[in-house]
């Protein structure tokens, strides 16, 4: 792989990664949101795979394959199962912020991400590090999704997006954290998503829905 292809593929992956996040903000249908999340997982896995092939690093390629399986297949499947069977559960209820404003806020957050990541690029101005603002933008957008959506599952999607953003940052700036940390972190995330999935099931049975506005018993 030449330097130019490497740069091109890396930028494409980072761009697709950010685009998926923006589309998730735009869409309301829970099923298509989960599908977009799977595509974001593919873009994420492309980063370590590209770096692994470029640097001829077998360990990094292995990590990329694991990431692909976990984030593009296993976790979206877990979420898709939790989306449930009832038709009225499949759509996000009227969000707290309307779509146009949401997309404007997303643009603002992306600009903010460029400002926040300046010290990182200053320390190591490599092609990979230059893509870090896209990963940071996804982290900020994910936090925004978590505070502005009302379905329990949308919050789980936001959490996974947050985690994708952090993983992308790790791959871009350091070619991944040490293997044991990477494995442990992936395992934790998988368990956390599993717990959230199980909880939405319990909630649907107890509350008859997963609108988080119904969670208002505990106050003060």
């Amino acid at each position: 792989m030449t330097q130019a292809t490497y740069n091109g593929v890396l930028n494409l992956a980072a761009g697709a990664f950010l685009l998926a996040a923006v589309l998730i903000v735009w869409r309301r249908e829970l099923r298509s949101i989960v599908r977009l999340l799977a595509w974001q997982g593919v873009a994420l896995a492309a980063i370590p795979l590209t770096e692994g092939i470029y640097q001829d690093d077998a360990a990094l390629i292995t990590v990329g394959v694991v990431v692909l399986l976990l984030r593009a297949v296993v976790l979206p499947l877990l979420l898709a199962r939790a989306v449930g069977t009832e038709a009225h559960e499949r759509r996000e209820s009227t969000p707290l912020v309307n779509t146009t404003t949401s997309l404007l806020i997303t643009a603002g957050l992306t600009v903010l991400a460029y400002a926040v990541t300046r010290p990182i690029i200053a320390l190591d101005p490599s092609p990979a590090t230059r893509a870090v603002p896209a990963a940071f933008a996804v982290i900020l957008i994910a936090v925004f999704v978590m505070v502005s959506r009302r379905r329990a599952l949308s919050q789980a999607v936001g959490f996974m997006m947050l985690d994708n953003g952090i993983a992308a940052t790790a791959f871009l700036i350091t070619a991944g954290v040490p293997l044991i940390v990477e494995l442990g972190a992936s395992l934790d995330v998988m368990f956390a998503v599993l717990v959230l999935g199980l909880l939405t099931g319990h909630m649907r049975r107890t509350f008859g829905g997963t609108d988080l506005d119904q969670l208002r018993e505990l106050r003060g």
Partner: protein
């Protein structure tokens, strides 16, 4: 020595495996108590066999110094008391139909896993592994918080998992940035996150990136430690969890999360100077104290009252860490240990009160001292410790924290913190006396106390008295830990 490092993690994992195979029964519950005791014994042996200054490590994966040993002592002490009380607590829950055999089995497996995760967090040599262990505590405790499966318990679990996972994810981002800075300071990729390597390269870490990392770590681990702005889960989770789990979460888990902050603080202080995290900790600590004190005043639920008291104490600990002197950190560690035991006493007591009244409203509970001497006296002792009354240890620790703050030139912080502590004091005294004193209302139900709960309560009171009268050899351990964290005399 490597056996003593592995035992605190291995013993509870063994207990969890046994509980998974055999289900909830006296035998497995007793093995869990022994496993918790094993954590305590390993810590004491590590601490005193070779002097508190000694350091142990195996395979670059685990290490124990005075600070880890101190935290292991806290985990072991509270863990032993809480698991001991669990035996009677769960048996009573089963008899009253609040849980079923499946729930009890899950409880029996998750509690020792929770203990093992906390022990791994304080023994981890790599701050990435430390992060993995702390996130594992969230996963392990999620279904413990939702143990009762009621609407309120589910709501508390959801908030707990979502808020803590987001917080802890930010801490992971901070860890990744620290790794990036460490690589660029010349560390090799395999051990760039090891505590010693980070300390050795600390002065060469890029200040701008380290500041960004430190901010994220403070927010992230602060969420787990119940500090502002991600504190909103705490009162819900601590009030809905079964009493022994509340004791573990309030008494130990909060301080284990704070331990992570102390570890990264020692690195960040060397890299960007102590001013950065000091400012952050003062802001976060004082705001936490303010919110906890205000909510304590209007509280009508006794388990939530205890949860906000934990928040208040974590705020105080954050302020003490901001002072950063040797005296402040040694006092902070004593405070954490005394608080752990006190919270065990009051949460175990509140569990029995909740079981008797089927309610956690303060106004439903009257004249406890006249109705049950065991619960009345131990609850009063726990409150007295939390109020910082002599002869208990929090009197000494709060006095030392005040002196350390004054010495560090943080007089205004001391003033503000004292104001909030006094407000909290008044609220605790008012609510506590309402519950404990006076004549019982007509028709008050009998308070039953299972044998194992009584045993844990009495042991806790004895430990508190001993700790209050003499810190003994622990003082040297605390001081060594404080010095290793860069505390100036």
């Amino acid at each position: 020595m490597s056996f003593l490092l592995l035992a605190p993690i291995g013993a509870p994992l063994f207990a969890a495996a046994l509980a998974a195979v055999l289900g909830w029964r006296r035998l497995t519950a007793t093995v869990t108590v022994l496993a918790a005791l094993c954590i305590l014994i390993s810590a004491v042996t590590l601490g005193f066999n070779h002097g508190p200054g000694a350091r142990f490590a195996i395979a670059n994966l685990f290490r124990a110094d005075a600070l880890s040993i101190t935290m292991l002592i806290v985990i072991g002490t509270v863990g032993t008391l809480a698991t001991w009380a669990s035996i009677g607590y769960i048996e009573a829950e089963l008899t009253h139909g609040h849980t079923d055999a499946k729930g009890a089995n899950l409880y029996g497996v998750l509690v020792p896993i929770f203990l093992a995760a906390m022990a791994s967090a304080v023994l981890a040599n790599n701050i990435g592994v430390m992060w993995v262990a702390i996130e594992a505590t969230t996963v392990a405790t999620a279904f413990l918080v939702g143990h009762r499966r009621t609407r309120a318990a589910l709501e508390a679990t959801w908030k707990y998992v979502v808020i803590c996972s987001v917080g802890i994810a930010l801490a992971f981002l901070g860890t990744v940035l620290l790794y990036f800075a460490s690589l660029h300071a010349g560390a090799s990729s395999g051990d760039a996150l090891n505590i010693d390597v980070l300390l050795a390269h600390a002065t060469r870490l890029d200040p701008a990136v380290t500041r960004l990392a430190a901010g994220l770590l403070l927010l992230g681990y602060g969420a787990k430690a119940g500090l502002v702005p991600f504190h909103t889960w705490l009162a819900d989770a601590h009030s809905q969890a079964p009493a022994p789990v509340s004791a573990l979460m309030s008494g130990v888990l909060l301080s284990v999360a704070f331990y992570a902050l102390l570890r990264v603080k020692s690195v960040v202080d060397l890299a960007v100077g102590p001013g950065f995290l000091r400012t952050g900790l003062i802001i976060v600590g004082l705001l936490t104290l303010l919110i906890a004190a205000s909510l304590l005043v209007v509280q009508t639920d006794f388990k939530r009252m205890l949860a906000y008291s934990s928040m208040e104490n974590m705020g105080l600990v954050a302020v003490a860490a901001a002072a950063g002197t040797r005296l402040a950190i040694a006092a902070l560690l004593l405070h954490v240990l005394a608080h752990g035991i006190a919270k065990t006493l009051v949460f175990l007591g509140s569990g029995q009160l909740q079981a008797a009244h089927e309610s956690t409203r303060i106004s439903d509970v009257t004249g406890v001292l006249a109705r049950s001497r065991m619960i009345g006296i131990t609850f009063a002792v726990g409150l007295a410790i939390l109020l910082g009354l002599p002869p208990f240890a929090m009197f000494a620790s709060e006095l030392s924290i005040s002196r350390a703050l004054a010495d560090a030139g943080l007089g205004w912080v001391l003033g503000a913190a004292l104001l909030f502590v006094v407000i909290a004091f008044a609220a605790l005294v008012r609510n506590g006396s309402r519950m404990l004193l006076g004549t019982p209302a007509a028709g008050s139900p009998a308070i039953t106390v299972p044998g194992s709960v009584s045993a844990a309560l009495v042991t806790g009171v004895i430990l508190s008295l001993v700790l209050g009268l003499t810190v003994g050899p622990l003082l040297e351990l605390f001081q060594t830990a404080a010095t290793s964290l860069g505390g100036t005399p």
